[in-house]
């Protein structure tokens, strides 16, 4: 098994779903184009041409079937010397990463490009429940004065929540509520964590700590060079979510404690030791083998660790929880991070959340379903480098029991 090095990465800013859905193509970018922008921003910094890439692996959670995303992207970039592969599904980003890792570790490839891109599907109407209620009222008004009154009471647009179909949403919320009940988490804790995440993101943005962001320039003259914040501060922090609908008094999750879905792409460049030497590439981190576990009926959520894959990763490298310097937990809901905090309460870095998600997470940024995982890896490697730390873990869990963990190892500039 060869070592896999993470050389560099790049991502686009994560966007709220573009309002110009019906406008001509130059006002918004498709998933393919976001990926191309992120990748070429990354490749501009490398000394080799795109033809030197051995494999191009792209992951995307929903893409039109019958179109091979990776082949198109590879053709557009001129990276047709190697083979390209697409992965589809909600875990596509991590699957792509694992596939890329295996190619270098076992299959003797030298340079592999892994990217994940997501765009929210176009929706005819993106209104929330309040808007539908208002439309109902408006359609029942009879006179002009009543209509005028109704217009003055119209509600602003609110961003969509994490997943589109109601059943998936309730899956996540159900799972999160169960966890919150078991770990006895309060609404105040959740809202406080959300605000913490937001503050950290803003700090990182102000101080240019965000890992390489490729600015988006549109053909109508606009440009976006920062992540668009998606939190809605008009709602009081402890207000509950509107998703389940039936028992508002029993809602446990706060309004913003579910990460919203956004659009974006991120790309990582993996290399083998031979390629690093050949092109004299500066290395960000060494990646260990990604670990997956699956425990479908997790009845004992309190006793079992929130992410069983972490144990496997640590065991493999003979490390303990105290050796890990920085963590990146996927913030699908605030509940997960708070559960981890409780579970690892004997480890100060995690218990005080001082070394977890220090540059903000998905709650503040929003997350394209697949690109978020690659973003976490990239951000963590930048954090390790700037703090001269050694070990970091990227952890992600999915409702339904799947868990993923990846150990990152940063060398302290031994080879200059």
């Amino acid at each position: 098994m060869k070592t896999v090095y993470l050389v560099d990465g790049s991502r686009t800013p994560f966007l709220i779903q573009s309002e110009y859905q019906s406008a001509p193509h130059h006002s918004c970018y498709s998933a393919q184009e976001l990926a191309v922008i992120a990748i070429r921003h990354l490749l501009l910094r490398q000394p080799f041409n795109t033809a030197a890439l051995d494999k191009v692996i792209i992951g995307s959670s929903n893409y039109k079937t019958g179109v091979d995303l990776a082949q198109h992207i590879a053709q557009r970039l001129g990276a047709t010397a190697g083979f390209s592969q697409s992965q589809y599904g909600t875990l596509a980003g991590l699957q792509a990463l694992e596939y890329g890792h295996l190619q270098i570790a076992l299959n003797q490839q030298q340079l592999v490009l892994v990217a994940a891109t997501d765009v929210l599907p176009a929706q005819p109407a993106r209104w929330n429940k309040a808007m539908y209620n208002w439309l109902d009222d408006y359609s029942q008004t009879s006179s002009w004065s009543k209509k005028f009154k109704a217009i003055t009471r119209s509600h602003p647009y609110q961003p969509r929540h994490y997943l589109s179909t109601p059943t998936q949403r309730t899956n996540i919320t159900r799972y999160a509520e169960k966890k919150a009940l078991i770990y006895r988490l309060q609404k105040a804790q959740m809202s406080e964590y959300v605000q913490l995440s937001q503050r950290r993101l803003q700090y990182a943005q102000r101080n240019n700590l965000i890992a390489s962001l490729a600015p988006l320039f549109y053909e109508d003259g606009r440009w976006i060079h920062r992540d668009q914040g998606i939190l809605d501060f008009s709602v009081p922090p402890t207000a509950t979510r509107d998703s389940c609908g039936k028992n508002d008094n029993m809602d446990i999750l706060t309004a913003n404690s579910l990460a919203s879905a956004t659009e974006g792409a991120s790309a990582l460049l993996l290399a083998s030791r031979k390629a690093v030497k050949r092109y004299q590439l500066p290395v960000l981190a060494k990646l260990s083998t990604p670990q997956w576990t699956h425990s479908p009926d997790n009845k004992n959520m309190l006793k079992d660790p929130p992410n069983t894959a972490i144990e496997h990763a640590l065991k493999k490298h003979q490390l303990s929880v105290d050796d890990i310097d920085y963590w990146e937990w996927n913030e699908t809901t605030a509940v997960e991070v708070l559960a981890a905090q409780q579970h690892y309460r004997h480890t100060p870095p995690v218990a005080t959340l001082s070394h977890v998600n220090i540059d903000g997470g998905a709650l503040a940024l929003g997350a394209p379903a697949t690109a978020n995982s690659l973003r976490m890896i990239l951000q963590l490697s930048y954090i390790l480098r700037r703090n001269a730390a050694r070990y970091g873990i990227v952890s992600s869990t999915e409702p339904g029991g799947k868990a993923f963990a990846l150990l990152l190892q940063h060398e302290q500039e031994a080879e200059a």
């Binding site: 501009l44 053909e219 606009r222």
Partner: protein
């Protein structure tokens, strides 16, 4: 039949004759007298036989058949005896007539460039099948040089398309891509390359299908019963007699017709008016073509064209074929007008470009302008446009500097900022990279004083994007004679421009002459003549760019900056009226008002001042023209005497392409030598 050099015949089992063209002189298939003789022989032999159909195709993917080669052209265009020209044109005319009179259907498969004489021959065939490659284009280049090829097909073209469409096709200087041709009726079918042969066979098979072939009464062609009327219905094909007198030349505000084009089109309209679409018209084309070819203005235009072709030949013999060239990375620092223009050029020709600027809004203008440029240059070629846009990267972090092969610095014309930027480039780039700077008048030695490796620096001067000249001036600083500048010239060839070596003088040659021309116009205006009079006099003279329109389009503040920089070094005064206008805030077209008023990019007619009594001096337009010409010619002579450029021919070329000197008068110095 004698041994055929340029063609090969093949008869298939179902009585079809396939004629393949493989002219051995060049893969661009120029048409020559020997070619025409052989072709005539072949057609004569087909006449006697019983044949189902004739299909003409070309062996080279680059061209079907193109125009006449420059050497033959100089022989034909001999003014002393019109015999050669007359003989050549009547030969071709006879050929086209024979092709038309064949009693079997003829199909031409056009894959690649089809222009001039080749286009005339293709129009003589009954059907044309075009391939959908972007290289397949039809263009009549000879019209821009002031003559047409008298094979008789212009009458056929007018017959096919109608007068209005035909005139606009002939007047256009851009090649007509496949889709547009089919839509306008020039081509009949548009297919992929591997299907072209099958399509041609199918057309012929349809005609003989079940014996229900019918004849189209207008064009005397055999039509298949399943065929729709091949040419689209257009009202002006039914041109009744009283409309003939109202035929107007096509007007295009962005690119007005030059006098050369006008002379050809007016001749064509004259022939049409007299002869209609009879056979006499086709015969008359021979005489008109000869007359146009030996006219003086055409001679001048041909001289310039021959010069250009000679320079382009040098490239083909010297460098490697295009497919083997390694991918180049270009990094442009500064996203102003010139920086963005260079970015568009490089991306359009397949290079990977990153454009860097510290301001976001300058970079934001890059992509919309680029898309517009690509779509006008390569209409219907969506793959090429997408490839170009993918390879044009707006870079806000200066990532592209470290690994670029060619670095171009295109920031404001300020000595200190340029010098410090060059230092930064010198330290941050690869040692083998070439550094180009787009200064118009700063001496290179001063800029490269503190650099570690000053021999890498070369200066390049492309004209303003509005002028879009095919010539780029290259200057080297004195101590760069050791560094190979082949890479720079190769790069300039790759972006489609012709490099010419120029000495290290302020303003190089083209900016110097251009500023002299504009300065003279400003002085005339200052002395009292009105702007419209000067502009009309310049257009009547034949200048491609009227001075005040050009000033407005380039931008008054840019012109002022350049003029001030040159004024210090060349010792003249900047006209105060320009300073006044810039101080008043009239920046030009983009600012809404310059010397003229503009609204959304279009010039507003100044109706009020047309009725107001004008207080300007009534100058004779001949005086205005004399002054303008003198300014240009004087500056050109100074340039030549100072040794800025090596030969008079280059001076002629540059005055025509960069300044807009009328091509009908040759270049500035040729005009001068003609006068004296």
């Amino acid at each position: 039949m004698n041994q055929l050099q340029h063609f090969s015949l093949q008869k298939t089992a179902d009585d079809l004759i396939w004629l393949t063209i493989h002219i051995k002189e060049s893969p661009r298939h120029p048409v020559d007298t020997s070619v025409l003789y052989e072709f005539l022989e072949i057609i004569a032999s087909i006449h006697e036989k019983k044949v189902k159909g004739l299909i003409i195709q070309s062996n080279s993917p680059e061209a079907f058949l193109t125009g006449i080669q420059p050497e033959t052209l100089t022989k034909l265009a001999d003014r002393t005896s019109t015999q050669h020209a007359m003989g050549f044109f009547s030969l071709g005319n006879k050929l086209c007539r024979q092709i038309e009179k064949l009693n079997c259907p003829t199909v031409a498969i056009i894959d690649g460039l089809c222009s001039g004489a080749g286009l005339e021959i293709a129009l003589a065939c009954q059907y044309r099948v075009l391939t959908d490659r972007p290289e397949t284009r039809l263009i009549y280049t000879e019209i821009a040089q002031g003559y047409h090829i008298g094979f008789g097909s212009i009458t056929r073209l007018i017959d096919l398309q109608g007068m209005k469409t035909a005139l606009s096709f002939l007047a256009s200087s851009k090649p007509c891509p496949g889709q547009l041709c089919v839509r306008q009726g020039l081509g009949d079918k548009l297919v992929a390359r591997y299907k072209a042969r099958q399509q041609a066979e199918q057309i012929i098979a349809h005609i003989y299908d079940a014996g229900t072939a019918c004849k189209d009464n207008n064009t005397n062609r055999l039509l298949a019963h399943t065929d729709k009327n091949p040419a689209p219905f257009s009202l002006d094909k039914l041109l009744p007699d009283f409309l003939i007198s109202n035929i107007r030349l096509p007007q295009d505000h962005n690119q007005p017709l030059s006098s050369l084009q006008r002379q050809v089109l007016e001749t064509i309209i004259g022939t049409w008016k007299t002869y209609g679409n009879s056979d006499d018209a086709k015969q008359e084309e021979v005489t008109t073509a000869t007359r146009l070819l030996v006219a003086e203005s055409t001679q001048h235009a041909l001289y310039l064209q021959v010069l250009l072709d000679k320079q382009r030949q040098k490239r083909i013999t010297r460098s490697q074929p295009e497919k083997q060239q390694p991918p180049l990375r270009v990094h442009i620092m500064g996203s102003g007008t010139i920086g963005r223009y260079l970015g568009r050029l490089c991306a359009f020709h397949g290079l990977l470009v990153s454009v860097y600027d510290i301001r976001h809004n300058a970079l934001a203008r890059l992509l919309p302008e680029a898309r517009h440029y690509f779509e006008t240059r390569a209409p219907y070629a969506t793959e090429r446009v997408q490839h170009a846009l993918d390879h044009l990267i707006p870079d806000i972090e200066n990532n592209g500097l470290r690994h670029a092969d060619i670095i171009i610095e295109a920031i404001q014309e300020d000595k200190h900022s340029k010098a410090s930027l060059l230092l930064e480039i010198d330290r941050g780039s690869r040692p083998e990279a070439c550094i180009l700077t787009t200064t118009a008048c700063l001496p290179l030695n001063e800029l490269s004083k503190d650099m570690l490796r000053p021999e890498r620096l070369t200066g390049i001067n492309l004209s303003h994007p509005f002028i879009d000249s095919p010539i780029a001036e290259v200057i080297q600083s004195d101590n760069s004679l050791s560094f190979p500048h082949d890479k720079v010239t190769d790069f300039i060839w790759r972006i489609g421009r012709l490099p010419v070596m120029v000495q290290n003088a302020p303003g190089f040659l083209s900016t110097r002459i251009l500023m002299a021309y504009l300065r003279e116009a400003l002085m005339l205006h200052q002395a009292g003549t009105s702007i419209t009079e000067i502009d009309t006099a310049a257009s009547a003279l034949g200048m491609t760019f009227a001075p005040f329109l050009l000033l407005d389009t380039i931008g008054l503040d840019e012109c002022l900056t350049v003029m001030e920089a040159l004024a210090d070094r060349l010792g003249y005064d900047v006209p105060p009226i320009l300073v006044q206008k810039v101080e008043q805030g009239h920046g030009g077209k983009n600012a809404g008002e310059g010397f003229y008023k503009y609204k959304q990019g279009r010039q507003q007619a100044d109706l009020i001042s047309a009725f107001r009594p004008s207080f300007s001096k009534k100058t004779d337009s001949r005086d205005i023209q004399k002054n303008l010409l003198e300014a240009i010619i004087n500056e050109a002579r100074i340039g030549l005497n100072l040794g800025i450029i090596e030969s008079t021919e280059w001076v002629d070329l540059i005055t025509v392409t960069n300044i807009g000197f009328p091509a009908a008068k040759g270049g500035a110095l040729r005009y001068l030598s003609g006068k004296t």
